[in-house]
Amino acid sequence: MNLSALEPSLNSQPLSVSSDSRALVSVENLETTFYLKSGPFRAVNNISYEINKGETLGIVGESGCGKSVTSFSLMRLIERPGKITRGRFLLGGRDVLSAPESQMEEIRGGDMAMIFQEPMTALNPVLTIGFQIDEQIIKHKKCSPKEARERSIEMLKLVGIPSPESRYTNYPHQLSGGMRQRAMIAMALSCDPKFLIADEPTTALDVTIQAQILELIQKLQSQFHMSVQFITHDLGVISEVSDKVLVMYGGQMCEKAPTQTLFTSPKHPYTAALIESRPKLGQRSARLKTIEGSVPAPHELPAGCPFVNRCMRAKSECSHQKPMPTMVAPDHSVACFNPL
């Protein structure tokens, strides 16, 4: 059989029409609102970023800061009462947010794929691993079940699952957590996505497995030449996998910078505080540094900077005026009135 038909074809990519022709992924002023009983709540507020081909963007932030909502917005998997209220998302020049729903089926799982946090619950317990990978391949590659099966087993082998032929017939509960996440990755990559969203893919795994999975994602990224959006709350993970980082707080962007710059010279007080609160190797302190207070509830977000009530450097204008992202260096922007 002809497997080469299933190989990624690098030439078939449509030419980008966005201003920056290098960027495969370009998100502009994305805004997602949840219409709750207590009033509309902006979970994602005016987020913009670009990811080049083969590049990894890390998105960091505490729980509830809108990291996952951003990803689901790009996939257009936001359900009622949520709604994408503004913004553009160009994937290889194609405007995804205004595409009709019929085309979305083609984009999801085809051009862009997603790996989820909990490999335990993200796989259907009553269908075999093989079936779940096959159905995606059949849908996007329009191939026969036999070809899909070969492709699935090939993918399982690629992600390092031992004896892939027998794993193919297994149900998710017969696999360990790490193996399930590998299977998830095999599934996500089975149709050669140009853009992969990894939503905390290692959070539910223990540390050794976590390292293996990170390594695997990085290996496959360079092999498939994908753009990756890596979401996590773990700064250690971010520093390892990403080329640039977007720090989010309360649905808004705080800081965006190349990874190295962000860790060595953070400009936003929140970024600095996050880096400060990491335990340091070789130093034993009685108490870890923390950021006082907690993320405000959706309806309690201040009118100005969302971080104002926890910020050490807050000024008077911070509490009633929203700081806009400003460039402090090439590729480095920060939304703060009083940056470090």
Binding site: F116, N124, P125
Partner: protein, 323 residues
Amino acid sequence: MGTYILRRLIQTVIVIGLISYMCFYLMTLMPGDPVELMIQSNPRITSEDIARLRELYNLDQPAYVRYFSWAKDIMSGDLGYSRTYRVPVQELMGPRLKNTFVLSFMALLTSLLIALPFGIYSALKPGSRVDYFVNFFSFGGISIPSFWLGLMLIIIFSVQLGVLPAGGTETIGVDHESTWSFFKDRALYLILPVISLSVQQIGVFVRYIRSSMMEAMRNDFIRTAKAKGLSRFVVVWKHGFRNALIPLITIFALSFSGLFSGAILTETVFAYQGVGKLVYDSIMSNDYNVAMISFIISVSMVLLMNLLADILYGFADPRISYT
């Protein structure tokens, strides 16, 4: 799997034995016995006759002795003799069982065919106008007593409109020239009892299907399925309904046995010649043999349907294995 089923079958037989003894004992506590009926119908009976009759029928023996002699007969295939109908119980129950089976099976089928689409639709669109309607009618269906509904149906369709028969099982004294006309005749008599049995069942099913489906659609793997670009149809049926089905199997299986033994009221209202009505009549007239067999059949139905549900469970959910 085979050993599991065998073990469960043995358990089932033991439970049937225990329950049949309890039923037997409870029946002996009921006021009156067959001899008393004979006394009433024959005023010139003497007290020696009574004693002789009681001895003849072993009615002077304690309950457990009578139970064991009855159980021995049952094991050897002799189900006894109906005192009311004056025919062997087998002959009496056979066609009645078939009638009740047809009635309860049709009611189950009708309920499922109606409840599934409505339950699933309202689960997919919770809070919509259709959902409100479906909920309103399912609560209505649950609340309407089936005997009252039966009477209303008779008044409307048989008395007022005169389109359907008010009761019975088939038109008596008609020679059907073809199988088709026989079925048509039977179906005509089934319509009203099936409706009155189904309405409540539909209400119950819709509630279960709706909540089970909503639960299934909330799972993370539904999101995964959508993120894979699968069509809504595949997401709903292959991923959602396939998982929603697992808890529903038990409910469907048990409701069948419930319909089977619970059709008493409906069968009585519609004078439908089924087991339910027979049980009622046999208890009222101290017809022990018939009542006992009916009890055992009802009990066995519940137990067998439970067993069936457990076996189907194993097929529906790969996480369950019977080894």
